[in-house]
Amino acid sequence: MKEAGHVLDVLKKVKRLIQEDNSHEIKILSNQTIHQATLSQDPDNIIVAVLVYSIGKILERKHYRNMEGWDIFYNSLLKNLDAGTVCLANDDLSKCRISFGKIRASLNKIDGNLGTYIKDVFRKAEINKAFKIYEHGISSEKTAELLGVSLWDLSSYIGQSSISEAHISMSMPVKKRLKIAEDIFQ
């Protein structure tokens, strides 16, 4: 994993913020991880970015805590976050990945709606992080590949991005580009 020290620091902060029930700060932390993930494009960094953002979203939805299976998920989250952090500190990346995988796998043990809802949070977090990486200047196809999401899903998100409105995104006068289009179809 690239920048493992930074990721380790993030994971420790996340654990503390979960205990403090501070979903807002967790989401801010997820933005920091995405800056890192954009530069490194390391799949493990991206997994952590998605995980951190998802945790923020899940904790924000307080009604989840009253649903059947919450304890199973929450205990698995804390346990595997701890385990993953220890493995990363010991440079054991494969075990670290297994621990993070177990957080999502725990959802399969939950009956009822909570599992489906949280799976949906993770899926949307992947698209959200892909969108964020795109906003950071990486091509849409590259980001779709990095996050394993469909470009078809990503397209509508990209369409909502205000980044296209930025002057910096305009690389050619409108007239000039239209002329290219009209010339080829003459």
Binding site: L39, E135, S139, S150, Q160, S164, I168, A181, F185
Partner: protein
């Protein structure tokens, strides 16, 4: 021979907006070929064909291929040759920017976009690449802006290899909105020809992924 080379994004936004019949009419009025590369085919036909949500869209695009409205790049350049050139383009494009923090290259472009550029480079004919996403266009047309954009977002200094960036200057890019602008001007859109229609089409393409600003759309409407 002239070629219009399609990246994935424009085909997605045209399909999702029900504009493939307009593309077909444009082809009837075009003295050349509409091309898709194997990587683009993978994203617009093969993958969505396995996703229930998008299978119908994939079938619609495949129908255009079956009817030779869209042609595979392999009809003109062998996949092996294209693949080699695509790798070269990816190496060049993904070597332009580096993080000054750790010296690592920032990988910007993907095989799909690179294969379109590779075809444009190999075809030795008049061509235009249709690409809706912003990063590849910026890399070719204004790498300095791309550098600034990434620097702002990741809060890290980025260095740029100008000699590599200059390799992309020769390519011509348009987006799906310019394509539909041409169709509008040529009366190929089966709707009342007025600014409202054009406005609606351009914004719907924007909201389905075409990187175009509202300011650009307004300017296009003035020029119509």
């Amino acid at each position: 021979m002239k070629y219009v080379i399609f990246d994935t994004g424009p085909l997605i936004s045209l399909t999702m907006n029900g504009l493939l019949p307009v593309l077909e009419k444009l082809k009837e009025n075009f003295n050349g070929e509409f091309i898709i590369t194997p990587s683009v085919k993978q994203e617009v036909i093969d993958r969505p064909m396995k996703i229930k949500k998008y299978k119908f869209e994939a079938i619609k695009i495949k129908n255009l291929v079956d009817r030779k409205i869209l042609k595979y790049s392999s009809d003109f350049i062998s996949n092996n040759v294209l693949e080699k050139e695509t790798k070269k383009i990816m190496k060049l494009g993904n070597g332009v920017l580096r993080s000054q923090k750790n010296g690592e290259k920032i990988s910007i472009i993907h095989e799909g976009e690179a294969s379109c550029i590779a075809f444009a480079r190999l075809c030795k004919c008049e061509n235009v690449i249709i690409i809706d996403e912003r990063s590849t266009r910026l890399l070719a047309e204004s790498p300095q802006n791309l550098k600034k954009l990434i620097e702002r977002k990741v809060h890290t200094k980025i260095s740029m290899e100008n000699s590599l960036a200059s390799e992309f200057k020769e390519f011509k890019f348009i987006r799906s909105p310019e394509l539909m602008f041409v169709a509008y001007k040529k009366n190929l859109i089966p709707l009342k020809k007025d600014k409202q229609t054009l406005d609606a089409i351009l914004y719907s393409l924007k909201f389905k992924g075409a990187a175009i600003s509202s300011k650009e759309i307004e300017e296009m409407k003035q020029l119509a």
